[in-house]
C-alpha cells in the first residue's frame, strides 16, 4: 500500500521543493520533473496491477486526520491513474524542450508536479473532503500554468480561475447537501436516487463541478480562451487531457456510484451532451486561431463522453470512458503539434501558415493521425469509441422512456458532429500543413527529438488503440470497470487494417507498373494562367457559405457578442447589480439617514413579531 502515498505526496513535495531552486536552473528543474514523472508512471503501472479495495492511510498517528485519508482503489480509479501517469510522463518530456526562456512561466515545473500529485489524489480520494481539496488545488495550478503577458492572456487566466473557482464552490455546496442527506462523506458508501428537492440540488451541484472541469456547455467558455493563450504544453496537460480524465471520472462516479439516474436526469444529460457536441464544433468551424479551434474541439468531444455515460448501459459507459481516453490521447497530441508549429514558426493564425508538411514531416504525420482519429475515420481509435457510442444509442432506443424514444435525435446529432469535426480538421490540416507552401516558411525546421518523440508515441498509440480495440484494449482496460460488453454491430478493425496495408502495396505496384518513372514535377494548373504569389484560396474561406446562412449567421453574431458565454452573462448581471446598489451609496447624508431609519424600522418589526 506504500505506492499510493508516494504517488500522491511525492510529486507534491518535490514540486514544493522545486520552488526553492532558482529559475535560471530551468534545465535542472525539467530533468527532476522528468525523473519524478517516470517514477510516477512506473508506480501507476504497479498500482494498476494492484488488487482493488478501500484503503485507509494512517497519518503519523493522528486519528483526526487519518479518518479523512480514505482512498478508493477500484478498476475505474486505477484506469484513470494509469493514464494520468502516462500523460504526466509524455508531457514532461515535451516540456523539457518546449519551455524555453521566452515561454518561461515562474514555477512551471513546480506547478506541473503539484498538478500531477493532486490529480492522483483526486482520483483515489474516496472521502469527499479530501477530494475537494485536491480538486481545488488543480484549479489553482491550472491558473498558475498560464502566463499573463498581455491583456488578453490575463483576462483568460482570470476567467478560468473565476469559472473553476465558482464551480468548485457549487461543488462544495453539493457535497454539503449530500452529507445532509446521507450522513456520509465517502463516495463508496453513498448511493441515492435523483429525487426530492435536496437530492436534485446535490446532483446538479456535483454535475456543475464535473462539467466545468471537463469543459461541457454551458460551462465551457474558459477552455477556448485558456488554450489560445497558454503554452501548448499546459493546454495539452490540463484542459486537453488531465481535466478531461478527471471531469469525466467524476461524472462517472456521479452517474454510476453516487446517484442513480432517473429518466429526467438521463434526458438532461443527453441534451447537454448533444448541444455541446454541435454548439462547440460549429464554433470551431469558423476559428482563425488554430489553438482556439482545438479548444472548441476539446469542448465538443466532451459531448460524446457525456452522451455515452448518460446512456447508462455498460456499453454506453464503456464507450464514454474509451472516448475519454482516446480524446485525451489525440487532443493532448494535437496541442503538442500545435505547440511545435507555434514554436518553429511563431505564427498563431491559420492564414499565416501553409505547406509545412515538407518542413515538419514528423509533426505533420502525427497531426494527420490525430485529426483523422478525432474525426472518427476508421480504423483509428476515435472511430472505435464513436462507433461504440452509436451502438449504445441504437441499443438505448429499445427502451421505453422519453429519452429512449428520442434516440434518433441523439444519433443524428452525434453523427453530424463527427462530420463537422472532420470539416474543421480539414481546415486545420490544410491551413497549417497542406496547401500552398508559404515562401517565408521555407526555412522552418522539424522540432527536436524531445518534442517529436511524444507526438509520435501518442500517434502510434492512437493507431494501436484503434486497431486492437476489441481484441486487447477494451478487454484489458475498460471491461474490468464495466463488465463484459455485447456489441450490437460488427467492426473487424484488425482485418481491415491489414487490408489497408495490402491496398497500399497494391497501389505501389500499380504506380510501379504505370508510367510513374516518367513523372514530371510541375507548377499547379489554374486554367492556364500563371500562378501568382497571391493566388490562393485560404482555408479560412472554406466554410464561409455555412456562415452566410441566415439562421447560422444570426447565431454566430450572437456568439461573437458572447451571448452563450456564462461568464459574460454573470459578469453583466453582477455589473448591473453593482449599478443598482451604487444608487444607494450616492454620498448624500439624507440618503444614509434614510437607510438608518429604514433599517431600524425593519429591526423593530422583526423584534415585535
Amino acid at each position: 500500500m506504500i505506492n499510493l502515498q508516494y504517488l500522491i505526496f511525492l510529486p507534491i513535495g518535490i514540486g514544493i521543493v522545486l520552488f526553492l531552486i532558482p529559475e535560471f536552473l530551468k534545465q535542472v528543474k525539467g530533468v527532476v520533473n522528468l525523473l519524478i514523472s517516470i517514477f510516477t508512471l512506473y508506480t501507476s503501472i504497479l498500482v494498476f496491477k494492484m488488487s482493488s479495495g478501500i484503503i485507509n492511510i494512517e497519518c503519523f498517528k493522528f486519528p483526526s486526520i487519518s479518518k479523512y485519508l480514505i482512498f478508493n482503489v477500484d478498476s475505474l480509479s486505477k484506469l484513470i491513474v494509469l493514464f494520468i501517469g502516462i500523460f504526466g510522463f509524455l508531457f514532461a518530456l515535451y516540456s523539457l524542450s518546449y519551455i524555453t526562456k521566452e515561454k518561461a512561466i515562474t514555477g512551471y515545473y513546480s506547478y506541473y508536479l503539484i498538478t500531477l500529485g493532486s490529480a492522483f489524489g483526486a482520483v483515489f480520494s474516496d472521502n469527499l473532503i479530501l477530494f475537494i481539496i485536491f480538486w481545488g488545488i488543480l484549479g489553482l495550478t491550472l491558473y498558475m500554468l498560464i502566463k499573463g503577458f498581455d491583456e488578453e492572456s490575463s483576462s483568460a487566466a482570470k476567467k478560468t480561475f473565476i469559472l473553476i473557482g465558482a464551480s468548485d464552490s457549487i461543488l462544495i455546496l453539493g457535497i454539503g447537501i449530500l452529507w445532509k442527506i446521507t450522513g456520509s462523506m465517502n463516495m463508496s458508501e453513498v448511493h441515492i436516487a435523483t429525487t426530492g428537492t435536496l437530492g436534485i440540488i446535490a446532483f446538479l451541484s456535483l454535475l456543475v463541478g464535473s462539467f466545468t472541469k471537463a469543459g461541457a456547455m454551458p460551462f465551457h467558455s474558459w477552455v477556448p480562451d485558456y488554450v489560445k493563450k497558454a503554452p501548448a504544453s499546459s493546454s495539452a496537460y490540463l484542459p486537453a487531457s488531465l481535466d478531461k480524465l478527471l471531469g469525466i471520472y467524476f461524472l462517472i462516479r456521479i452517474c454510476r456510484d453516487i446517484f442513480q439516474l432517473t429518466d429526467w436526469a438521463t434526458l438532461m444529460l443527453l441534451i447537454i451532451g448533444s448541444v455541446t457536441i454541435i454548439g462547440a464544433v460549429m464554433m470551431a468551424l469558423v476559428q482563425h486561431n488554430y489553438k482556439k479551434l482545438l479548444g472548441y474541439h476539446a469542448v465538443s468531444q466532451v459531448g460524446y463522453m457525456i452522451t455515452g455515460i448518460a446512456l447508462g448501459s455498460p456499453l454506453g459507459i464503456a464507450a464514454g470512458m474509451f472516448h475519454m481516453i482516446n480524446n485525451a490521447l489525440y487532443k493532448g497530441g494535437l496541442f503538442l503539434t500545435a505547440g511545435s508549429v507555434e514554436k518553429q514558426t511563431g505564427k498563431e493564425n491559420l492564414d499565416e501558415l501553409g505547406g509545412l508538411s515538407k518542413m515538419m514531416p514528423l509533426t505533420f504525420f502525427a497531426a494527420l493521425i490525430f485529426a483523422l482519429s478525432i474525426s472518427g475515420i476508421p480504423p483509428f481509435n476515435g472511430f472505435f469509441s464513436k462507433w461504440m457510442i452509436y451502438q449504445g444509442i441504437i441499443d438505448f432506443g429499445n427502451g421505453t422512456g422519453l429519452a429512449n424514444k428520442l434516440w434518433i435525435v441523439w444519433l443524428t446529432l452525434a453523427v453530424l458532429g463527427s462530420a463537422l469535426t472532420l470539416a474543421s480538421f480539414i481546415k486545420l490540416i490544410t491551413g497549417i500543413y497542406l496547401g500552398r507552401r508559404n515562401e517565408k516558411l521555407e526555412k522552418v525546421k522539424e522540432v527536436s527529438f524531445l518534442m517529436w518523440l511524444p507526438q509520435i508515441v501518442i500517434a502510434i498509440v492512437c493507431i494501436g488503440f484503434g486497431i486492437f480495440a476489441a481484441k486487447f484494449v477494451i478487454p484489458y482496460l475498460i471491461e474490468p470497470v464495466t463488465g463484459k460488453l455485447n456489441y450490437v454491430g460488427i467492426w473487424q478493425s484488425q482485418s481491415v487494417s491489414i487490408l489497408i496495408l495490402v491496398s497500399v502495396v497494391v497501389g505501389f505496384l500499380i504506380y510501379l507498373y504505370g508510367n510513374m518513372k516518367n513523372h514530371r514535377v510541375s507548377e499547379s494548373f489554374i486554367g492556364g494562367e500563371k500562378l501568382q504569389e497571391e493566388t490562393n484560396f485560404s482555408s479560412l474561406d472554406f466554410y464561409q457559405t455555412i456562415k452566410n446562412f441566415k439562421f447560422l449567421s444570426f447565431c454566430y453574431k450572437k456568439a461573437e457578442k458572447k451571448w452563450f458565454d456564462i461568464y459574460e452573462i454573470f459578469k453583466k448581471i453582477i455589473l448591473w447589480l453593482n449599478h443598482v446598489f451604487s444608487d444607494a451609496h450616492n454620498g448624500f447624508l439624507p440618503r444614509y439617514v434614510f437607510w438608518y431609519i429604514a433599517g431600524l424600522l425593519i429591526l423593530l418589526i422583526i423584534l415585535i413579531f
Binding site: 475515420i377 496547401g435 497501389g507 508510367n515 446562412f549
Partner: protein
C-alpha cells in the same frame, strides 16, 4: 486472413467490382449519349480509359505535399473497395465472418471523398482547394439525410444494423420499397448517392466549367487512373447498397438472376437520367436543398416507418 485478402482483391472486391463498375460507367455514358442523340462509346471504353491513363505521364505538383498527394488516390481506392466488400458480401448472400454493420459502411463510404479532398489540398492548387471545400460542404449536406433514411430502415427492420439481417427481413416480409416510407426514403437516398458520386446536379466539387475539374484537377496519369477506378467502383457500390436497403437484395436462383441485375441497372439508370436532365446547382443551393427539403422528407419517412407504413 487469406480469405479476406481474396474477398478484397478478387471477388467481390477490387477486380470484380472494378469490372462491374466499369461496365456500369459504360452504361451511364451510353445512356447519356442516347439522351443527347449521340452514338456513345464502345463497351470496353472504360477499360481503354484506365489503361490509357496508366501509360500517360504523371504530373506531381511542385509546391504541394508530394507524398500525401500520391498516397491519397490509393486510400480512395481502398475506401471504395472495402465498402464494396462489406456491401456486396451480404448482398450476394455469401455467409462469412468478414462483415461490417451499417455505421461502419457509412463511414467507409466517406473515405473516397475524404481522400480526394486530402489529395486535392495536398496539391496546393487554389482551384483544387475550392473543389475540396465544396466537397466537404456537400458531405455535411448529405450526411444527415442519408443517415436519417438509414435510421428509417433500421426502424423498419426492427432495430437491426446488419445488412444481411436487413436483407433477410425484406425477403421474409417484402421489400421496403413497397411501403410509403420506403418510397420516400428511396427518393432521398437517390439524391444522396447522386451527391456522393459527384454527379450533376451536385457536381460542384468538380465543376468543369468554372474550376476545371476542381478536386481532381491535379491528378493525372497513374494517379488519375486510380481515382477513375475508385469512381467506377463507387458507381457500383452505392446502387448495390440501395438495392440491399430497399429492393430486398439479390437472389441467384433461375430467372431471379436477371431481376437482381436489373435492380442495380435500374438504380444506375435513374441516377443517369437525373444527371442528364438537370443543371448544376450552386453549393449553397445544394446545402439548402439537403438541409431543409431532404431532411424534411427523411423525417417524414421515419415518422411513417414508426407508424408502420
Amino acid at each position: 486472413m487469406g480469405k479476406e485478402i481474396f474477398y478484397f482483391l478478387i471477388f467481390p472486391g477490387l477486380l470484380f467490382s472494378g469490372i462491374v463498375g466499369g461496365f456500369l460507367s459504360w452504361f451511364d455514358r451510353k445512356i447519356t449519349a442516347r439522351v443527347q442523340f449521340r452514338q456513345g462509346p464502345p463497351l470496353l471504353q472504360p477499360l481503354y480509359d484506365f489503361i490509357k491513363l496508366l501509360t500517360k505521364e504523371t504530373l506531381i505538383p511542385k509546391r504541394g505535399s508530394q507524398l500525401t498527394f500520391l498516397i491519397a488516390p490509393i486510400l480512395a481506392l481502398f475506401g471504395a473497395v472495402i465498402s464494396s466488400v462489406f456491401v456486396l458480401l451480404p448482398l450476394f448472400g455469401i455467409k462469412t465472418g468478414f462483415l461490417g454493420d451499417l455505421i461502419v459502411i457509412i463511414y467507409l463510404l466517406n473515405i473516397p471523398s475524404l481522400s480526394y479532398m486530402i489529395g486535392a489540398l495536398a496539391s496546393g492548387n487554389p482551384l483544387a482547394a475550392v473543389g475540396a471545400s465544396r466537397e466537404m460542404k456537400l458531405i455535411l449536406s448529405y450526411e444527415v439525410p442519408f443517415l436519417l433514411v438509414l435510421i428509417s430502415i433500421i426502424i423498419k427492420s426492427e432495430m437491426s444494423i446488419k445488412l444481411s439481417e436487413i436483407i433477410a427481413f425484406q425477403t421474409a416480409n417484402g421489400a421496403f420499397i413497397g411501403s410509403i416510407s420506403g418510397v420516400i426514403g428511396f427518393i432521398v437516398v437517390l439524391m444522396c448517392i447522386q451527391a456522393k458520386l459527384g454527379l450533376v446536379p451536385f457536381d460542384m466539387a468538380e465543376g468543369e466549367g468554372e474550376i476545371c475539374d476542381g478536386i481532381t484537377i491535379e491528378f493525372s496519369g497513374t494517379t488519375y487512373a486510380l481515382v477513375t477506378l475508385a469512381k467506377y467502383i463507387m458507381l457500383f457500390v452505392l446502387p448495390a447498397l440501395v438495392v440491399a436497403l430497399f429492393f430486398a437484395g439479390m437472389n441467384f436462383e433461375g430467372i431471379n438472376i436477371l431481376w437482381s441485375i436489373l435492380k442495380v441497372v435500374l438504380v444506375v439508370l435513374l441516377v443517369t437520367l437525373v444527371r442528364n436532365t438537370n443543371p448544376r446547382v450552386r453549393i449553397d443551393q445544394a446545402m439548402r436543398f439537403f438541409w431543409i427539403w431532404m431532411n424534411l422528407l427523411a423525417v417524414v419517412s421515419i415518422i411513417l416507418a414508426i407508424l408502420g407504413l
